[in-house]
Amino acid sequence: MNKTENQKAWLFVIPVFILVAFNAAVPLMTVVNYSFQETFGNNVFTWEGTRWFKQILQSDRFHAALGRQFLFTGIILFIQIPLGIFIALTMPKKGIGVSVCLVLMSMPLLIPWNVVGAMWNIFALPEIGFLGHTLNDLGFDYNFTQQIGDAWFTTVLMDVWHWTSLVVLLSYAGLRSIQPAYYQAAEIDGASRWAVFRHIELPKMKKVLTIAILLRFMDSFMIYTEPFVLTGGGPGNATAFLSIDLVKMALGQFDLGPAAAMSLIYFFIVLLVCWVFYNLMMRNEAQS
């Protein structure tokens, strides 16, 4: 049988191709170009070679920002994933409660990032904020604008509030797709609640949990708006995560060369993590 060759489809891809060229390829190429040069504006550039890359890779400032970033992402994953699974397990399986829970759960996800930041800023202010004032009244010395621990506590709490529902919704979807036959079999065997979770629910949730971890990792790794509005990276540089530090360097100091080099290193880390998660997901697909 002869296969007919029809290449017309390529024509329909052209608009997307042009769009991607202008919003991804051209800016990315520009960043690569900037990362090897120095500029003081006016489109005048001088060649610097690999100087910025070396400077960034060996700078304490970058190491600190990267460390803070991994610490933050680690903490929020460590809290949100177990908490999300736990909440999904306790959610009702039928009746009006399902809709109520789902709507309540989706609320934080619908709020824009900068609004979340502003909300939590006011909420946590030590003098007038509900959280800050209450904590101080209870005898805690709480001030997120001046104390590093409090700033971290507030930032993590805000992220947990904003994004745990995503893990809940995904886990809940995974749980709902388990056939009742599995639970019946477990009951006949007299399996404990833990055994049911460990050997039925967790393996069945593996796929959605991989996606949940990937989404939460990427979102928290690239987090900018919420901590920027909440703490502005402070006190000092205590909550200046990678993206905040990057913007400080690029727009605050107008160090376009080092900032471009830093964005590329940042980009490669993100790309590597994406690739690892993609392979994990593909392996899950192949197994099921």
């Binding site: 520009t30 170009n33 504006g41 006016n42 489109n43 005048v44 060649w47 590597l272 392979n279 192949a286």
Partner: protein
């Protein structure tokens, strides 16, 4: 960034003291803000060439020769190119961060590693 026409640059800052800049080969007015250099151009041409060669290879031997490599990963030719390029980036960065001089050794290591990737991964 603010894009200022280059004739205005001559009225601003340091440029006002110098003679008008000699027009280089890559001085296309409308993309001066992209700050092209021949080195980065060569890099992107190399990437484009890689992709072009992959297309030719796919035409000659269709299917991408999928297999399970030594790491237990299911890879096709495209995956192997991606792994090679990404690891080349990390090898260069590691070399710059740790050693810092004679960067072309990192290039050679990357090239050798990509041969290993294409052969065994």
């Amino acid at each position: 960034m603010i894009i200022v026409p280059s004739n205005k640059i001559l009225l601003l800052g340091w440029e006002s003291v110098s003679e008008s800049r000699e027009k280089g080969f890559f001085d296309f007015e409308f993309i001066t803000w992209m700050a092209w250099t021949w080195q980065t151009a060569v890099f992107f041409i190399f990437i484009a060439l890689c992709l072009f060669l992959m297309v030719i290879w796919e035409k000659k031997v269709p299917g991408g020769s999928p297999r399970r490599g030594i790491l237990g990963l299911d890879t096709t030719r495209g995956d192997r190119l991606f792994i090679s390029l990404l690891s080349a980036a990390f090898i260069h960065l590691a070399w710059l961060g740790i050693v810092g001089v004679i960067l072309w050794i990192a290039t050679i290591i990357s090239f050798l590693f990509s041969i290993v990737v294409f052969r065994y991964f």
